[in-house]
């Protein structure tokens, strides 16, 4: 069975390039291409492809707008973007897939393979996270942890402390349960520190909403779950500023 693909890309040169790359991927059939958001939405919903390569920044509208209007929630979507890490934050938090431009053939092939291995439930879950974020003025409520199965979900607000341990990170939640993940502290910093999270030292990020405000921050800060964590000296000023803003 061939994998039916729709390519959404407004740049003719990029479109041609992606088509050429897909030509070398086994078992791929390009059923159509679209250049505008409107065109993409109608083509995807009528052709019901297995996979959509979706450019994030279209001249008319955005890829996110297209995604929001896709009817079938288990459609495999791979976003493509030339924007930096910062701009792909909400996609990464939802766990949806994306490729950095210029696209590397091998990465494309691997990601397509990976996308096909995801279960229907997982795809739907990640898609629902993304929609939720888009409907909440781009503020994410859930984060996708790769180690979680489709049945579990992690509320961003439930996360209290994120600590790096070796190559892994350990997340402590409000109910004091602990989750380990292969995401790095840097990943979390990039994804979450825009919001109410703060990296207080080299190995720890905390959710500022869960800081015990009765204990004034000094060399250490105390969390609501009574954990005490060192606040690094050079972070103190930025920390106080952010705390005051909240």
């Amino acid at each position: 069975m061939l994998t039916r693909v729709v390519i959404v890309e407004d740049e003719p040169l990029s479109r041609q390039y992606i088509c050429a790359l897909l030509g070398n991927v086994p078992g791929i059939e390009i059923v159509d291409t679209a250049a505008t958001a409107q065109e993409a939405i109608s083509k995807i919903n009528s052709l019901k492809p297995d996979l959509v390569l979706l450019d994030l920044e279209l001249h008319s509208g955005t890829g996110l707008e297209v995604a929001r209007n896709i009817i079938s929630p288990d459609t495999n979507i791979i976003f493509t973007t030339a924007l930096d890490q910062q701009a792909t934050r909400i996609i990464r938090i939802s766990g949806m897939l994306f490729l950095q431009k210029p696209i590397d053939a091998l990465e494309l092939e691997n990601l397509i393979e990976h996308s096909q291995r995801r279960s229907k439930a997982l795809k739907e879950k990640q898609f629902s996270y993304l929609l939720e974020t888009l409907n909440n003025e781009n503020k994410p409520l859930h984060i996708h942890i790769p180690e979680e199965t489709a049945g579990n979900s992690t509320f961003i607000n439930d996360m209290v402390i994120i600590q790096s341990e070796d190559k892994y990170c350990k997340i402590t939640k409000t109910n004091n349960s602990v989750v380990s993940t292969s995401l790095s502290l840097k990943d979390f910093e990039e994804m979450l520190c825009e919001f109410n999270f703060f990296r207080i030292n080299a190995s720890t990020i905390v959710n500022m909403k869960h800081i015990n405000n009765e204990v004034p921050p000094g060399e250490f800060i105390t969390m609501n779950n009574s954990a005490t964590i060192e606040l690094s000296l050079k972070k103190r000023e930025a920390f106080t500023q952010k705390l005051n803003r909240l």
Binding site: E11, L13, S14, Q16, V25, E57, A82, K101, P102, A105
Partner: protein, 778 residues
């Protein structure tokens, strides 16, 4: 009473003395000499007796630990009879089916071997421990040691002459032989001499001492009723002679009637050595044959290369029809000769088991299409339909040997085309089985040709066999192709099958397993023939020792508009490079004075030159290509080469940018990204270049207009698009900072005049890129 007391006191004193001796470690008392020798040898053996008894003073028996040690070496006591009569009886039963005499002989040879080796090892160990170096001292310790270890008391007879050479002769008695003793005590009389271990051990000791092979034979034995046990020891090849002499002097029976059993130890050793020698010899001659064939094929290819090359040049001159016919004949004969030489080289490598199958990523469809390209014209000319049918999913990159797979397919498809007059030929490729790591690929080649009679089907894979002797006359060929294909397929772990019906057609099929690769194939052949459009002003350095080949290459280059320089070997090439800067080097590998590898190393490591180097080599051996790449050579062209192949290879490497970088005119475009990503899909790259050339000036113009109309949002979008597109051609590297700063300036809404400065940079760079891309030859 008093006497009894005195006797008891005497007895007590004796016991005390013994206790004292035991305490001091000496476990024995010597009452007399341990060996009997002729008077002239006595001083020597006195010394030996002292050495050996020194050695044995350190005897420790510790039954509570189950150990007996002498000089830190472990010993075991073995009941003597177990090693003689009892053992030989057991062997007799064991080998009863062989008959009594042979069973006895097996047992005796076994005992001799074991005792001989024991003798050698004990001597080695004793000599080392007691630091004996003189051969005579080493030897004379033997009989004494023999006595101390309970093997035998030795009585050396005066006729002995133990010299460390071929004349070594020792005649001696064992008056208390443990082996004969075991038979006598059992009340049995043996019909042969039984003191085998004594003979083996003593000859082993003496052999080790003098460093010459020695054997010993018991000529008289008390076990068979003789008056004593007498032995003769000598080098193995002299033993018969000594036995005869002894017999003549000591017995009254005629020589012929006397039978001595001579241990076969040295005989067997000789046969073993013989076998080893002949095996080595056979290996050497197989190697010599292979080397000869390899060298021969090289020697044959070099002049053949000249013949083919000049024929090709001759074709291009003004010739009349008859001359053209003659030239065609030379050309086609030369080509078939070349393919025969290649076949023979392959076979010799297969025979020698030195055929290495490569394991390099390649794309199966690439191989199929190269075969299709090769034969579609030929099939069309014969009016045959030729189709390559593949499963879509076959577009794998796999690990394997692409050139050998191609060779097999060329052979099978080539045969199909050759033996088919009407109808069709199909090359079908399907996937049988596949998982994450492996793919089982099935290849089928069918034709509607003359077919093969069923009685011949079994033989078609044999060498020099064709279904019919008429065939070679009608169709040509050597009958080596199928034999090679079969062996190659088997080498790659597959099996070839054939089905055929005369006058209906033939089907060959085979399956191969390939490991899937995640890498992109390294060596992508370009799928189109591309000529050199800008050969003007390009200079090629030809490094080649064969004058004819030099000339041939020179003419081809000149005809194609290149300038060229010549060098006769690596050293000359280096001298040329000190003065000139050619755009590419064609480097022969095998050359006198300095070969191609050494020259390349010098050029890369000492001179730090990046000029593309293409190796030209007659070594059509696997592994050569890898060696070239490792040494810093870029391309590889096997000899003999056609004009088209040479030009194609040059065009592939001359645009590698290395030479232009050296001259300081840096290119702003770099197609390596696109080439790698599209797996050298030339058509796509060309299309994209055309698109860029058409679109980019408009984009640049749009950006300028956005700037002049002070529309920041539009400027931002346009810069983003531009950035995206130029990245595909590697131009972004030159504009990275400009673009970043420009984007920031736009975001911060700097005055447009400032932004225009960045724009100038972008405009210049883009127009330069377009110029380059217009001239690009992929």
């Amino acid at each position: 009473m008093l006497t009894e007391v005195t006797q008891l006191q005497h007895r007590i004193a004796q016991l005390e003395k013994e206790v004292e001796q035991l305490r001091s470690g000496a476990a024995f008392t010597l009452q007399g000499p341990t060996v009997k020798v002729p008077p002239q040898m006595k001083p020597l053996f006195d010394i030996a007796q002292r050495t050996v008894s020194d050695y044995f003073t350190d005897l420790k028996m510790q039954p509570d630990r189950g150990t007996i040690e002498i000089n830190d070496q472990r010993y075991i006591l073995i009941r003597a009879s177990a090693m003689s009569k009892d053992f030989l009886d057991t062997i007799q039963n064991l080998y009863a089916d062989r008959g009594k005499a042979e069973a006895m002989s097996i047992g005796k040879n076994f005992l001799f071997d074991i005792a001989h080796t024991l003798g050698i090892n004990d001597a080695k160990n004793f000599h080392a421990t007691m630091k004996l170096t003189d051969p005579i001292a080493k030897l004379s310790a033997g009989p004494v040691h023999f006595a101390f270890t309970g093997w035998a008391f030795v009585d050396i007879l005066p006729e002995s002459s133990p010299t460390p050479d071929d004349n070594f002769y020792l005649i001696y008695n064992h008056p208390y032989s443990f082996e004969a003793d075991s038979w006598i005590k059992a009340g049995r009389i043996s019909d042969t001499a039984v003191c085998i271990m004594s003979a083996g051990y003593s000859s082993g000791w003496c052999e080790e001492s003098f460093g010459i092979p020695l054997t010993a034979v018991e000529v008289k034995c008390t076990a068979k009723g003789d008056d004593c046990c007498t032995f003769i020891m000598s080098p193995p090849h002299k033993i018969h002679q000594h036995l005869d002499t002894f017999h003549l002097h000591n017995e009254n029976k005629p020589v012929k009637q006397q039978h001595y059993e001579i241990p076969t130890f040295f005989e067997r050793k000789k046969i073993e050595e013989e076998l080893q020698r002949s095996r080595l010899h056979a290996e050497e001659s197989a190697q010599a044959k292979e080397d000869f064939v390899a060298n021969m094929s090289h020697e044959l290819r070099t002049p053949l290369g000249s013949i083919l090359g000049f024929t090709e040049l001759l074709e291009k001159t003004n010739t009349d029809a008859l001359q053209r016919e003659y030239i065609d004949a030379i050309g086609s004969s030369g080509k078939s000769l070349l393919s025969i030489i290649n076949d023979i080289l392959d076979l010799s490598k297969l025979d020698a088991g030195r055929f290495a199958v490569e394991d390099i990523p390649f794309n199966i469809t690439d191989v199929l299409y190269s075969v299709k390209n090769m034969f579609s014209e030929k099939a069309k000319n014969k009016g045959l339909a030729f189709a390559v049918k593949t499963a879509t999913k076959i577009n794998y990159t796999v690990y394997g040997d692409a050139s050998r797979l191609t060779q097999i397919l060329i052979n099978l498809v080539g045969n199909a085309v050759k033996f088919t007059e009407t109808g069709s030929i199909n090359l079908i490729c399907t996937i049988e089985r596949t998982d994450e790591a492996w793919a089982n690929v099935h290849f089928i080649i069918t034709d509607t040709g003359i077919g093969i009679p069923s009685e011949k089907l079994d033989f078609i894979f044999e060498r020099f066999t064709q279904a019919d002797t008429n065939i070679s006359r009608r169709f040509g060929g050597t009958g080596l192709g199928l034999a090679i294909s079969k062996q190659l397929i088997e080498l790659m772990g597959g099996n070839i099958m054939v089905k055929s019906e005369p006058a209906a057609g033939t089907t060959f099929s085979f399956s191969l397993s390939f490991r899937k690769a995640t890498e992109v194939p390294l060596r992508c052949e370009l799928q189109e023939h591309i000529g050199i459009e800008n050969s003007v002003n390009k200079t090629i350095l030809v490094v080649e020792d064969n004058l004819l080949n030099q000339k041939l290459t020179g003419i081809i280059l000149k005809n194609n508009g290149f300038n060229f320089l010549l060098a006769g070997n690596g050293l000359e090439a280096i001298k040329v490079l000190e003065e000139y800067a050619p755009d590419l080097i064609l480097m022969d590998i095998q050359m006198p004075v300095m070969d191609g590898y050494e020259a390349t190393c010098h050029i890369r490591d000492k001179m730090h030159l990046n000029i593309p180097i293409v190796a030209i080599t007659a070594h059509a051996l696997t592994g050569e290509k890898e060696k070239c790449i490792e040494k810093g050579i870029d391309g590889y062209l096997p000899k003999p080469f056609s004009e088209a192949a040479l030009i194609k290879t040059i065009s592939l490497w001359i645009n590698k940018n290395r030479s232009s970088e050296k001259k300081g005119e840096k290119k702003v475009t770099d197609l390596n990204f696109l080439k790698k990503q599209t797996r050298h899909n030339v058509a796509v790259i060309k299309e994209m270049i055309a698109f860029f050339i058409d679109q980019n000036p408009r984009e640049v113009k749009d950006l300028y207009e956005a700037i002049t109309s002070l529309d920041y949002t539009s400027v931002h979008k346009k810069v983003h698009t531009l950035k995206n597109n130029i990245a595909l051609f590697g131009i972004d590297k030159w504009l990275e900072t400009d673009l970043l700063q420009m984007e920031e300036a736009v975001l911060k809404k700097f005055p447009m005049d400032e932004i225009k400065k960045y724009f100038k940079q972008i405009e210049t760079c883009c127009s330069k890129a377009i110029e380059e891309l217009k001239n690009e030859v992929i």
